[in-house]
Subunit: 346 residues, 2 copies
DNA sequence: GTGAAAGCGCTAACAA
DNA sequence: TTGTTAGCGCTTTCAC
């Protein structure tokens, strides 16, 4: 790595002159500027970002902790974060807590050691289950701002970006009722997460409101409590059988809402295998996106969480928070509305 | 952020004493060490990583450029990289080139400005198509080591980690022939990428070797040349129709090999819809992993690329390269063998 | 128009 | 055992 000093030595000028010249300072003569900039270009000089960070006490880097990078939802959020970060010249450092509290703490500690200007965080499953947020309070007490998304807690006050989980399901039930569906099932692999609970609650409330009662037989819970990753149930070979049994047990079922982004696709496959006509005899709706929708036949109708947008907004919020000097900033919670989209399974 | 200086002031000792005490130097009396460490703990002091990086000219950070973070394969590679990085105390900064050459160049430039100790790179589609590698040469000329994975080029000499694309397909054909299959089709959405070409070539060679000829009617190409993302074809509604037509056009087809990790699943769905018995009348094999396999019924038999392992090995190679002082290091290319796994579609 | 010097937070050789 | 000093690469104030 070539440094200012080396440039200075080669041209017999001082370091400060070189610095000013490279910053196009008008203190420096045009001739000197050219001379210096030419050499810099020739030697492929690059400003040392680390030195700048130390000097300015600003790293132009955001830290991101997500529960699981293999979950497509979080990969999309990450993509949104990157989009927003790139536009504003920020880099991002990423950690995947793998749903572990200990890792989350470790990573937050690393991030608190000066490497980043702010933190974006979605809580790990273990953190939520153990209700332990001391490590996060710790960081909010420092000068480093934090924005939480998707997996949040009201125990911490900071900016937040979430989706309308409860309403998404509630409205989906409503919409299916409007289409004449009268026995709607609910499949979830995430009932132990806050988002999963909100979705379950939305279903429960809608059941009561539209059918006069909530029937727990109409709920299939795929969560494996001993696992600590929400993807794990899908590695379990029994999931096909569980869904098949669920459909067979409720023989006049005419709609299924899947609360995660995989069991919808699987449900379609199982129903097809059972020779159930979709959507004529059974409507299926799942969370997900366009790509996931393509993976089933007929294409799954999906509730789109707009994960990219969530990431983008969260990063934008964080960056504006970083740049705002005011101390009387009030925290906001933004809700990104879901939308139900296309597919032919509804 | 609390600093050494602040600790020193509070205790009326010098900065260097504090530094040494925090590093458990045996130059310092136990009493002082305790006093200092206690205060540090109490005030939640954290070593400033930026300052350390500048001092040591070592950031303990790896830079990663992948073509597309929304592609599950790369998300898994990333996961592997993180695993290896975490074990050795490295952080990672991630960029997604979104298959764009310009972005790839930008990101490499950022990475060349002192932020990372090494770079992990999978080339963007555009970079490969334009055959333009000057920006990478540029970085290899500096002292910063680079390891390429998956999307590589032989124009650059550095460590590389790839899979056995050609053999994977060749051997899969061989295996299907052994099972009695005599008319094998090949579906690819990535024929413009080097890995896609290798897979096509494997299929072509195997066709000649096992059937005496290569029949181009048995190849379905889903690549959309005007797009610059290998995922794009899947957002195209016609993909189902294309695959359906392909199956119908080749009416005694008894096996399909899908060269990417999505069209296998889709092919199963289409074939099921056409009432073709799988695997009795039609075997289907695709690239992918356990999770992808779960998404179809019957479960897709997959060629597993061991993406996590690729990431892990690439990161390990990079880190050992960073730590090796020797200049007469010879570059290696590691091939991570694929394995064919389970599923009931074969 | 150019240069010397201080300082961001830290470590380490050397001095006391 | 503790403190002083220099320096990592850079910017910026102040002097010349």
């Amino acid at each position: 790595m070539i440094t200012l000093k080396q440039l200075a030595n080669k041209l017999n000028v001082s370091v400060s002159t070189v610095s000013k010249a490279l910053n196009n300072s008008d203190e420096i003569s045009e001739e000197t500027i050219n001379k210096i900039q030419n050499l810099a270009k020739e030697l492929n000089y690059k400003r040392n970002k680390i030195a700048l960070s130390l000097k300015n006490n600003k790293t132009f880097t955001l830290g991101v902790i997500i529960p699981d990078i293999l979950n497509r939802f979080y990969a999309k959020v990450l993509h949104g974060i990157q989009k927003a970060a790139e536009e504003t010249g920020y880099d991002i450092i990423i950690y995947s807590s793998k749903e572990s509290l200990v890792k989350e703490i470790d990573y937050l500690n690393i991030l608190a050691s000066g490497t980043v200007d702010g933190v974006l965080l979605a809580l790990s499953e273990e953190t939520i289950n153990k209700n332990d947020f001391a490590h996060i309070k710790n960081i909010t007490l420092k000068d480093i701002p934090i924005v939480m998304f998707d997996r949040i807690t009201d125990k911490i006050s900071c900016d937040k970006v979430i989706i309308d989980d409860f309403d998404a399901i509630y409205n989906e039930v409503k919409s299916l009722v409007k289409l004449g569906r009268s026995k709607i099932g609910f499949i979830s692999s995430i009932s132990n997460l806050n988002v999963g609970k909100l979705r379950s609650n939305g279903f429960r409330k809608a059941s009561v409101d539209f059918f006069g009662k909530f029937d727990s037989n109409l709920v299939l819970n795929l969560t494996n409590q001993t696992n600590n990753s929400s993807m794990k149930p899908f590695y379990n070979a029994d999931i096909h059988k569980n869904i098949e049994q669920f459909i067979l047990n409720n023989n006049d079922l005419d709609a299924i809402i899947a609360a995660d982004n995989l069991s919808g696709v699987i449900s379609i496959n199982i129903a097809s295998k059972l020779n159930i006509k979709i959507p004529k005899d059974l409507s299926i709706v799942g969370f997900g996106d366009k790509l996931i929708s393509m993976l089933s036949y007929p294409k799954l109708t999906i509730i789109n969480q707009h994960a990219v947008q969530i990431g983008q907004r969260a990063a934008e919020l964080l960056i504006s928070r970083i740049n705002s000097k005011s101390t009387d900033y009030t925290f906001v919670t933004e809700i990104i509305p879901t939308t139900t989209e296309s597919g032919s399974s509804k």
